[in-house]
């Protein structure tokens, strides 16, 4: 899933400072699961904004809504009338949702209330870790299912580097060295031979280096 954190309230307030009528649009997808942008988060943020604006002596009207997913036209289309009636849409979706709105409603300003961070999963309740960098050329087959592109600070394919100590990464003592984990897992699976292979330099064209990436599933195309 996509994990996002809410921006600081001060930054959010500044981004909507000049507007009076605001639509606060959440998303029922990933950001609901990570608590930063679902209906509850929208409700909380709306009351925080109202309180802050009241303190500032500046009137504000907020319309709250949370489509099932903000990243698909069909779900945001349902709110067309409301969207057209406001000065700004404040989105608590990920960056994909914000852009869906920007394209669907080219005459309406949509600003983000979240910082979209990564693809990951909750390793414990309320705590997410990045697991996939979406590099477009998956290596998990030979790394024991653990990704060095997303989780090694140097994206090494022949790791670990010399800074791996006691299973931790030198860049952050609270982060496991993924190469230690890969080593341990491959040892357990009796596949340490995977680590003796010199890996070819990665073809980064499938990653974020060749412009916008696209994905096509022909069978479903109309």
């Amino acid at each position: 899933m996509i994990v996002a954190d809410r921006k600081p309230l001060r930054e959010i307030l500044k981004s909507i400072d000049e507007y009076r009528k605001v639509m606060l649009m959440g998303c029922g997808g990933c950001v609901t699961v990570c608590f930063s942008g679902g209906a509850k988060a929208v409700e909380l943020l709306a009351s925080q904004i109202k309180m802050a604006r009241k303190k500032q002596g500046k009137d504000i009207e907020i319309i709250e809504c949370t489509p099932e997913r903000q990243c698909e036209y069909e779900f945001v289309e349902a709110f067309e009338a409301e969207v057209r009636s406001v000065d700004v849409v404040l989105s608590t979706a990920c960056g994909v949702g914000v852009q869906t709105m920007a394209v669907k409603y080219p005459d309406t300003i949509t600003v983000p209330a979240l910082n979209t961070k990564f693809m990951g999963y909750p390793v414990e309740h309320g705590f997410w870790e990045e697991k996939c960098a979406g590099c477009g050329d998956c290596v998990l087959e030979w790394t024991g299912g653990l990704c060095p592109i997303a989780r090694c600070a140097k994206k090494l394919l022949d790791g670990p580097c010399g800074g791996s100590v006691d299973g931790k990464c030198e860049v952050d003592k609270d982060t496991d060295c993924v190469w230690q984990l890969i080593y341990d897992r491959l040892k357990r699976l009796d596949k340490l031979d995977n680590l003796t292979v010199i890996r070819e330099p990665k073809d980064w064209r499938t990653s974020t280096n060749a412009g916008q990436r696209k994905s096509k599933f022909e069978e479903t195309m109309l």
Partner: protein
């Protein structure tokens, strides 16, 4: 000969090699390099020029190497994967060779978090093993990484790599060394050895796998001037093993500088006698002037004469 560098000639002649480290300045003054080069002239077989070590911006290692060459000192140019992609690296490899550089040391590079621009993007288009393989491909196959031919004047470089015998997982360190050698490393420079026992244990594994016959192993040694420096290494530098008894010895020394030199001399003696060690690499951090003193007292001067 792969490069006919002095370092290669000394090592292939079976002589005990000595290299030392030179850190370029955080400014554009060539005099700093010229002055430091005087400590090394005629005293060592190669001078390692660091590439923005600990991710702190310094004069480029290749530019500093060119200045060192003009002083008669043979450089080992360090190249890290942190700041350049494969295009810039190959371009710099050609440039370095054109300037007369004959040795290159390939490293991943310290993460930018430790430097003075922690907010910088890092590159790591390649890792150190892939960089080694790329330099070898340019030299031996006369090809760029993409396979395009280097029609003439391919870069003739003696290829070095580093390994840290003290990082984890310990068992994997020898596997990784083997990988670097398989990729094309001609010589290996180790992380600073303070824990000679652990280093000896690692060397046993290296020798058991016959890796010392495939590449020359240089033991990294760092003379220190104070117990504080050892504490720093132990606590702040990841992947460093510093025995407590060494720290105690420095703490109780009346003349810590002299004690630091003595410890280094003892270590030189010990690593020289470990099977598979072909030389040493001295890394007196910010204390380059001590290099000739230590080498003199270790009986390693003058440098061996080797045919050019």
């Amino acid at each position: 000969m792969k490069s006919a560098s002095r370092l290669e000639r000394v090592l292939t002649a079976g002589r005990f090699a000595v290299t030392a480290e030179l850190g370029p300045p955080q400014n554009a003054n060539p005099e700093v390099i010229r002055k430091k080069a005087q400590h090394f002239l005629g005293n060592v077989d190669g001078v390692n020029i660091t590439d923005n070590q600990t991710a702190i911006v310094r004069m480029s290692s290749i530019a500093a190497a060119a200045i060192a060459i003009s002083c008669g000192v043979e450089p080992v140019v360090q190249m890290v994967c942190r700041d350049r992609n494969r295009i810039a690296m190959q371009s710099d490899i050609l440039g370095a060779a054109a300037l007369g550089v004959k040795n290159i040391l390939c490293l991943s590079g310290d993460h930018q978090k430790f430097g003075n621009h922690p907010e910088a993007a890092n590159v790591f288009d390649l890792g150190s093993v892939q960089l080694i393989a790329m330099v070898k491909k340019m030299r031996d196959a006369k090809q760029f990484l993409c396979g395009d031919p280097i029609k003439e004047h391919e870069p003739r470089l003696f290829i070095g790599a580093v390994e840290n015998p003290f990082a984890d997982p310990f068992e994997f360190r020898v596997v990784r060394l083997a990988k670097k050698i398989k990729a094309g490393a001609d010589f290996i420079q180790t992380q600073c050895v303070f824990d000679v026992d652990k280093f000896a244990k690692w060397m046993e594994l290296v020798v058991k796998d016959g890796l010392h016959k495939k590449a020359y192993i240089l033991a990294g040694l760092t003379p220190v001037r104070s117990a504080r420096a050892l504490h720093y290494m132990k606590d702040e530098v990841a992947g460093m093993s510093v025995p407590d008894k060494l720290i105690k010895r420095m703490e109780s020394a009346e003349d810590p500088k002299e004690e630091g030199i003595r410890i280094c001399l003892e270590m030189i003696e010990r690593v020289r006698n470990i099977e598979g060690v072909s030389g040493i690499h001295l890394m007196p951090i910010g204390w380059e002037s001590i290099t000739p003193v230590i080498l003199e007292r270790a009986g390693l001067l003058p440098c061996p004469q080797v045919r050019g």
